[in-house]
Symmetry: none
Subunit: 400 residues, 2 copies
DNA sequence: AAAGTAAATGAATCAGTAA
DNA sequence: GTTACTGATTCATTTACTT
């Protein structure tokens, strides 16, 4: 396996790469932020024409266009290109790719979706970037990647064969007597074009101090669907070298180019020991954080609260707070004693400056008898069902 | 509230709309594709095709450009436009919007993400569409919508204030004694630009046989973030009228235009009873299947009861009964007064030999003040949320 | 009791935004 | 520009649970 690194302009350097020798080009050029000139007021009445816009698209388009032509040349007939950009450049990227590769070679617009911080209140929180996937010809490589079925999928859907009905519509295949024809278990659903991959966190070890660094997992997925082992990957704006790391991990050859000497040095250091951070979130999935179980929260229907996931003692916080402090809420678990629940709540909330903590009692029986040893900050509230039982019990006793 | 429907070319018809009179334009023009759209499952024999007029990109761009200028004119200074398209037209849409509204008026690229079935093996499964959100000026309306915190967010993040330490670094704010300074009120996080909304289930009631029909929830979200009540919404390619339905549900005025007589008729029928059929997925999340009309019964979580289906006064019966008679239960409905709810329960249950009837109070506010006129058989129980509010109110008063 | 593991949670950072 | 504020994530540390 080879990994080559060059410092310089990728336009010049890619000219030294032979025709049809590369299987995948991944490019993540600097984001486009320049202004595009508008048509003058006198042109307003004119019909819109692309040539006008084209002319007004400045050096950025030019810059990319020249390089795309080289990348097209070096790609093998079975090769693909993935163009990474954000909303500033996405339309420019599309136009240029259509121009150089051809409209019909468009394969997918991939949305890389992540969650991120920000206090934006006058706009939606940006939480995605775009990748355009084009192939050089119709003979492009595409390695099938399957994902798990969605949890709401019907078992029949996974098991049954399809056929066409008399109008050409797809339907479950049936025998003459109308019974369904089962099929073997299918392996999963095809990978969708929206990829939920966590943004590389500022604290991640994987970070090498390069601000635009991409997660290795994103690059691995791109390489997996479009290449085979020992194929050649080219990243002409390689930055901190994530594509090269992913290539090494997946046993692909790779060429990285960057204009910045610093980027090359960062990459070179990183390639000595190519690593992928196996963060908890990536390894185990988002669901593992979901510990505030739906079941418990259901008791709080109609309450204006925020569920709390990462704390074993607190299930939710009241949105309004109380006298400047938060109001933590806990639901008694099945089988858990009221006293245990109260202690667990108290311990989790005591450092949070809460003057009122609320415990919702869900278990009938024992009830408030243990009340004496419950900390004074903890107020016990009956769940509706419990309140009903208590009422009936009281009525019963009254009668006696 | 007004809802107007016109059949004709939106270019001509929008010329009759006064300047600055519209608050939101939502447009979902026929997708730019060579394929002819076919009618859905409802009636396969009837051919339903958008006139496949656009033979070249320029022609399509011209068509849209002329209309966008009109939409820009009719928009108020605080108004916004949402342009719905898929990957075939997204770059064209961006260029035209940049041209007509200005590059700086770009607000967001919204990704509508959905899951659906396909057997595509040579490509990624298309699972999103794009919406471009532009405003007419910088004074655009934007109504804050909040979502829940990500599961990986910890309580301290939600609760604690920040400050700068002596080196100017951000840190949690502390008192002199080292204790943390809390911040009780937290509302949630800003809405992101990737919206996970299920594709309209082919079986949903909402479906009226129009191939490109959008979920009402998608349109509701667009209308909510960009308009206030009684604002004007314009949908110049209204199709089956989803934007109009959402406008009615959210108490906005609206104008729908479509070139097809059939679309206008479909819309007109639909507007008679604008109904929102929420899919299973939306109501309860992806992993739970839930019976219909569970909304009220959710308050009774943990109670051993039988739901009552065909009785407007009684929601459930306690399985155990009380002193030989049944125990009917009713949940107070949103907006319903406690007294009304009590009467409705009493009337429904008086012939059922019940000595105890239970009314669950879900609305905060008025409370038990009307208790005097409630029949003695009816016992009012606070829903958990209500009990919590009552407790906090009492604590507040104690302190005074 | 001591040691080793797993889980809980506190601290820190930012191709974030807003005024 | 400059400064203040945000929350998703992950690292580091503490606490809790096993042997």
């Amino acid at each position: 396996m080879e990994t080559k690194l060059y410092q310089g302009d990728c336009l010049e350097l890619s000219k030294t790469i032979p025709d049809n020798s590369i299987d995948l080009v991944y490019l993540d050029p600097p984001f486009f932020t320049q202004k595009v000139q508008k048509l003058g007021a006198r042109d307003r009445r004119k019909a819109f024409s692309f040539s006008d816009v084209w002319r007004s698209l400045d050096e950025y388009a030019d810059f990319i266009f020249l390089r795309l032509r080289e990348f097209h040349r070096v790609l093998a007939a079975t090769g693909s290109i993935f163009f990474h950009c954000d909303h500033n450049a996405s339309h420019v990227a599309r136009l240029l790719l259509d121009e150089v590769f051809g409209k019909k070679m468009f394969r997918s617009e991939i949305i890389w979706h992540y969650r991120r911080w920000s206090n934006s209140q006058r706009s939606l929180l940006p939480a995605h970037q775009n990748l355009y996937f084009y192939s050089k010809t119709d003979e492009y490589k595409f390695r099938e990647v399957l994902q798990e079925y969605s949890p709401s999928t019907n078992v029949d859907q996974m098991l049954q064969k399809r056929a066409r009905d008399e109008f050409g519509k797809s339907a479950y295949a049936r025998n003459e007597d109308g019974s369904l024809i089962p099929d073997g278990y299918k392996k999963g659903v095809p990978l969708s074009d929206v990829w939920d991959i966590p943004f590389l966190n500022p604290r991640a070890k994987e970070r090498v101090g390069y601000p635009t660094q991409k997660p290795v997992l994103l690059l691995e997925r791109i390489i997996e669907i479009s290449t085979d082992e020992s194929d050649w990957v080219l990243d002409p704006f390689c930055g901190s070298g994530t594509a090269l790391v992913a290539s090494i991990l997946l046993k692909r050859n790779s060429i990285g180019i960057d204009i910045s000497q610093e980027a090359i040095e960062v990459s070179r250091k990183r390639l000595v020991n190519p690593e992928k951070t196996e963060s908890y979130l990536l390894r185990r999935g988002r669901d593992t954080y979901q510990q505030a179980d739906e079941d418990a929260l259901a008791y709080l229907k109609g309450l204006d609260m925020v569920p709390v996931q990462r704390n074993s003692g607190i299930d939710a916080l009241l949105k309004t707070g109380f006298q400047g402090g938060p109001v933590p809420i806990r639901i008694q678990r099945p089988g858990e004693s009221l006293l245990d629940a109260a202690r667990s709540l108290y311990n989790a909330a005591k450092t949070k400056n809460a003057s009122v903590m609320i415990l919702v009692a869900t278990e009938t029986g024992a009830g408030f008898d243990a009340a004496s040893s419950i900390p004074p900050e903890v107020f016990v509230i009956d769940a509706t069902a419990n309140a009903i039982h208590r009422l009936l019990k009281e009525l019963e006793e009254e009668k006696e």
